[in-house]
Amino acid sequence: MATYHLKINGKIRPVNVDPSTPMLWVLRDHLDLPGTKYGCGIAQCGACKVHVDGVAVPSCQLPVSAVGKQAITTIEGLSARGDHPVQKAWIEHDVAQCGYCQAGQIMTAAALLKQNPKPTDEDIDAAMSGNICRCGTYLLIKEAIKSAAKETAGSSTRK
């Protein structure tokens, strides 16, 4: 057991856990942030993706001991009011079926748009292919990402 002071969604959160504990379970079991989902535990499905310093990574593969000072953002912290352009686009396109994979999809998409505000279909495929949706909502996910990209581009030109 060791104590860590993790920077999560803009707050410092202390936890006392075994150093090998993956962030996925730290978030879910210790910090009451269950928005990040367990799907496979082996970096195959993307359900557990969070942002680590802005990059989407599978939290099931990230031991708490490796986090250090890096800032972690979970789906709960992506926006204050659920109004991140990607979240809004997800609502607009009514993407979810069961919804279980969608937090991971949204986190991956948000990180993609941050790095690449105008992704092509191929860019989207490449960024999103680590995220499985068992319900098969891939087409709507792609449409939503494109809308979010437009909205982001629109708001940045208005600035």
Binding site: C40, I42, Q87, A96, G99, R134
Partner: protein, 750 residues
């Protein structure tokens, strides 16, 4: 008058307000418990709900709450079922709050999510509930205003009278709730719908995109422990002994014990299963600790040998012997080949198929095989249980609480009214969560551990546990005369442990001489309903076969099917044909027209078509395949559906697109194999699911427009995808596909 104490005690509240005969009698719920009222205040929820019936509650401040009876697993019931209530209640959809109902079959109907039945079975009762409540609100207004009820109109939650009087529903709700429930209230004609048929967004969308705890795996309770089960490494094995000393030394671990899911002689219902009856359980504080500690168990397993199960339910009470053999896929395939040559059970016979085949100028015979499939719900199986000597609370993802409750009653020794089951949103179901064994397991573990626990299956547990889609085979034969007319059709299907044959489905009814037969090989590998059970194989095999027969006859595959359907309509052969030939032909012509079948402009594509009827709905797809990076890729799909009235069109389109994606994925990759009883796939690294880059660029979904009562949509679009993909692959590669999955094609560059 009854008391709604807390939201967690809705079940007893609803039960108390039940009227004799199961009729809807109104009751008003007043919050008397200060604690609950505080809770609700904190949530900014008003203190008084007038309950007009099991599905409708309205506050004086005009909040309208609609109760969804059926558990949601992504098929949109939490939105589309309340839409049906709102349509007849005549409220502004924007002001409606939807809440998942408690488990109460008496008050809320069958509450079963499966068989593509939710919308179909609730279509009438929910609209009637809405209409009756509206009528009661009008009556309340009429009495208050001293005017005849016929003169009171409603519009979007407002009652009006020509005199200028008006009131919001909320103002009349408490009075309405004291009135008798009218019977036989007239329902709207489809042309007057204003909510149904207009797309409404998923009512839980905002919670989903912000990561709110909606799912069973997210549920927490004070003092809750985590439990995991170590199941045997193979089907046909059981627990011999275990040494938990190392596990118990691990941090956070509270207990390790074994217990039996069902006692010897337990009478199983249709949805009970005893795949792994000995539960070796590790209980501890957190998921990661339990996962790691479980690995330290030292366990000896031994062959279970042949076992006897006592089954009840469909087919009556009987003893079934479960063979103890440690099965392997290669041996299973051989066994299926052997059995397919043996005499089988006749399921249907029309005309004289033997003579037709004897006299045929040409006989086409093809055999199709398909493996076990794992459901792979995105959220693995899990359930929360808190069982004490007095009562039990169970919370989690479950498709059919009513099917599990009787087993809970028996296994816990508690009366049904002391067992509360709450249904969370499910991270997928696909049939898997109709089998509530994991809920019984959770309950037994909680009882033994004397603590609230959440049972969690890891992905590996989930995938290797069983309840698979069965392994299937079928041999199809077609007899053609010298003029290439189809004079005989024969299907003989088998499976482990069930065959897939639907003897009364197309092309039964369309061919003069027809024979359907089936056989089954017992197995210890457990199986269960998987999205469109049986159909998901039939549509693959039969629709591939018909494509090949059409080719042999020199006919266009769509025209060939339409000719058969014309025959089935004009002069149907035999009895009990399950499908409506017109509606079947309707989806084929719609998909033909929308896809521009045989029209110029589609030369880029290798096109495959298939259609199927199941779960009361009709589906047809045209799959357009290209070669991309040397591999076949489904770039575009056209789908035509006839499911009657489409309640929530955008969500329905999403569902069909998802079924198409799921179908393509399973057609290419789906496969669960065994070696000496052990599942050879355990997680997504070796059980491939379709991914973003493999989904089509476009799936155009068209619905036949009619005013027929709605039927299912979760399953029907899925099965024919397999056939359409197989037929497109033939055009792409020149090779017919007989064995699922079709991944062998992907391994070879084209």
């Amino acid at each position: 008058m009854t008391t709604d104490k807390t939201t967690h005690n809705r079940r007893s509240f609803l039960k108390a307000s039940l009227l004799a005969g199961g009729g809807m009698m109104l009751s008003v719920s007043w919050l008397s418990s200060a604690k609950a009222a505080d809770k609700l205040k904190a949530l900014n929820v008003p203190e008084q709900w007038s309950q007009l019936n099991g599905y409708i509650q309205i506050t004086a401040t005009n909040l309208v709450k609609l109760i969804c009876p059926n558990p949601e697993f992504g098929q949109n019931v939490m939105t589309s079922l309340p839409m049906m209530v709102a349509e007849e209640l005549d409220v502004d959809w924007k002001g409606v709050v939807v809440e998942m109902g408690p488990h109460d079959n008496t008050k809320l109907g069958p509450q079963f999510t499966g068989g593509s039945n939710s919308v179909r079975m609730y279509w009438k009762p929910l609209r009637e509930a809405g209409a009756a409540a509206r009528q009661m609100l009008r009556e309340a207004a009429a009495q208050s205003w001293g005017v005849p009820v016929d003169e009171v109109t409603t519009k979007a939650g407002v009652l009006r009278h020509a005199s200028g009087k008006s009131a919001k529903y909320g103002e009349m709700a408490s009075k309405a709730a004291t009135l008798p429930v009218p019977k036989g209230t007239k329902l709207k004609a489809p042309k007057d719908f204003s909510i149904v048929r207009k797309s409404k967004k998923n009512v839980e969308g905002p919670k989903i995109v912000t990561g709110k705890p909606l799912f069973g795996l997210d549920y927490r309770a004070p003092g809750m422990l985590i439990a995991m089960i170590q199941h045997p490494p193979a089907f046909g094995m059981k627990l011999k002994s275990f040494d938990a000393s190392q596990t118990l030394k691990m941090p956070g671990i509270k207990d390790v014990f074994s217990l039996k899911l069902y006692e010897d002689g337990f009478e199983q219902g249709g949805f009970d299963t005893r795949t792994f009856n000995d539960l070796l359980v590790v209980v501890g504080k957190t998921t990661w600790e339990v996962m790691n500690a479980r690995k330290k168990l030292k366990v000896e397993w031994e062959p279970a040998g042949d076992t006897k199960d006592t089954m009840t339910g469909r087919g009556g009470k009987r003893e079934v012997t479960v063979p103890g053999e440690l099965e392997s896929t290669s041996a299973q395939l051989e066994k299926m080949q052997e059995w397919s040559k043996k005499p089988a059970q006749q399921l249907r016979k029309d005309g004289d198929p033997e003579t037709a085949f004897k006299n045929a100028a040409q006989v086409i015979e093809r055999t199709y095989n398909a493996p076990f499939l794992a459901h792979n719900c995105m959220e693995p199986m899990n359930f929360f249980a808190h069982v004490t000597d007095e009562k039990a609370l169970l919370v989690g993802p479950l498709q059919a609480p009513g099917w599990t409750e009787p087993t809970l009653v028996k296994r816990l020794g508690l009366p049904a009214d002391k067992i509360e089951i709450q249904m969370t949103r499910m991270g997928g179901g696909f049939g898997r969560r109709a089998y509530g064994h994991y809920l019984i397991e959770a309950a037994l573990i909680s009882k033994r551990a004397k603590a609230p626990i959440k049972l969690i299956y890891t992905r590996e547990d989930d995938m290797t546990y069983g309840i698979y889609r069965p392994m299937y085979t079928a041999t199809y034969r077609a007899a053609l005369d010298a003029n290439k007319n189809l004079i005989g059709f024969h299907v003989k299907g088998g499976g482990i442990p069930e065959h897939a044959i639907h003897a009364n489905r197309f092309p039964a009814g369309a061919v003069e001489n027809y024979l359907a037969e089936g056989w089954e090989i017992p197995s210890n590998i457990t199986i269960g309903a998987f999205r469109a059970p049986r159909s998901n194989f039939n549509a693959a095999a039969e629709q591939s076969f018909l494509d090949e027969v059409a080719e042999a006859m020199g006919k266009d595959p769509i025209e060939f099917r339409l000719e058969l359907l014309k025959r089935a309509k004009e002069a149907p052969v035999g009895k009990n044909n399950e499908y409506d030939a017109d509606r079947y032909a309707g989806v084929l012509t719609l998909v033909r027209d929308k896809s521009g079948w045989n029209k110029p402009g589609n030369e880029k594509y290798h096109r495959g078509v298939a259609a199927y009827f199941c779960h009361n709905s009709y589906a047809a797809h045209v799959v357009d395949m290209v070669t991309r990076d040397g591999q076949p890729y489904v770039e575009r799909v056209f789908s035509a559906m006839d499911c009657g009235i489409v309640v929530n069109p955008d969500a329905a389109t999403n569902m069909v697109q998802g079924a198409v994606v799921d179908g393509i994925g399973n057609a290419f990759y789906g496969s669960l194999t065994h070696k000496a009883g052990a599942a050879q796939q355990s997680n997504f690294h070796n059980y491939r699911l379709i991914r973003h880059n493999e989904a089509p660029k476009k799936i155009e979904v068209h619905f036949v427009e009619n005013d027929l009562d709605p039927t299912g949509l979760g399953e029907p679009p899925f099965p024919p995808v397999f056939g359409a993909v197989a037929n497109a692959l033939y055009k792409t590669t020149g090779k017919r596909q007989y064995d699922q999955p079709f991944k062998s094609v992907l391994d070879k560059r084209i």
